[in-house]
């Protein structure tokens, strides 16, 4: 059975795809973790994903990792931060809303990526992706404005 969906000015596929999304009441609750990475050299997104997965699996096992539902949404590099004197990158990690502390511990356990030493610090936890991206942008443009937020 194929139903033809008619929709003005919109793509047919888009509408079909939209129909498969869960209704808001059935969706799982999430949190977006905005974190910064201080590293010896530039870190690629793929390397970081592998390392975060490895940390989560080694700390909580397969079952625990499946419950935390982590997903790296984005990672951007900022070349040579003046404040730290090292390479700094900012990323957004999505996870389950009740597993934030567990994921935070796993992030703290990461100490190197392919023999380059790194340190991860969580900047902020956001409930929406809008807030998380806004924070990331402001961090990449100006780190001084964020320092004020962290100190409070």
């Amino acid at each position: 059975m194929k139903k033809k969906v008619e929709c003005k000015g919109q793509n047919k596929f888009y509408v079909l795809h939209f129909a498969f999304l869960l209704p808001p009441t059935l969706r799982e609750r999430k949190r977006y973790i905005v974190f910064e990475v201080i590293s010896e050299r530039e870190i690629a997104k793929r390397e970081l994903v592998e390392e975060i997965n490895d940390a989560i699996y080694s700390l909580y096992g397969d079952v625990g990792a499946s419950k935390s539902r982590i997903w790296l949404i984005g990672y951007k590099k900022k070349k040579k931060d003046e404040d730290t004197g090292t390479d700094v990158g900012v990323g957004i990690l999505r996870c389950a809303h009740d597993k934030v502390e567990e994921v935070r511990a796993a992030l703290a356990c990461i100490h190197s990526v392919n023999e380059a030493r790194i340190g991860i610090r969580v900047i902020k936890i956001s409930g929406s992706i809008k807030g998380a991206t806004r924070l990331t942008k402001s961090f990449l443009e100006k780190s001084s404005t964020l320092k004020h937020q962290i100190s409070n």
């Binding site: 201080i38 404040d83 511990a105 703290a108 610090r121």
Partner: protein, 228 residues
Amino acid sequence: MPNFFDLNVHAYPETEVPVDDMLRIAKRYGYAGIAITNHDDTGKEEKEVLFTPISNFAFRGVEIRAKSVSELKRRIKLHYGQVPLLAVHGGNEVINEAALKDSRVDLLAHPCGENVEGEVSHVLVRYAAENSVAIDFNFNPIIRSKRGDRARILWKMRENLKLVRKYKALAIITSNARSIYDLRAPREIIALASLFGMKKEEAVHALSAVPEGVLKKKWKKKTEVEII
């Protein structure tokens, strides 16, 4: 937010990292102060750098690494009254006992050894509570190790925590950082502490109130110490 302190950080000249870099990163991570505790037996030139005042943010400290009890006593006598924080490099059971019995010592760093090989008995923790020597929970091995090793370390820490709770000894959390990449922000450390059953309030206490009290010699008897 309470003031967070990290009382066991190694910097230049023991490691290659300059003190300024360490302080900048610690400030960025939200610490109110860190103590640079280099080992006292690493070199001659160190002494000149060690005893120059750094800033209000960083506290000078020394970590005594001794091979015998008599050597430890001699070193404690040498450094006592000279630095705000007197730490002892733990690991050896004999040294641990001698350090915990001495009320001049402020902090016993990594009592189970740097890679948590040894153990701390209930008798030693009782000495620590009597003489108000802080017992250190060192987080560097948790970060660095994996799988079997990490499981063993967490198990040891859980046992230590049980003893500390029982005898109401002073527990303190440090990073034992040797580079800027070893430092972790306070909230991350609190999350790591929950891995071995430390409650959030306990972890905050061990990161803020206890280190501050140790630096101010809050729990020492008045006749025994002079505040620098």
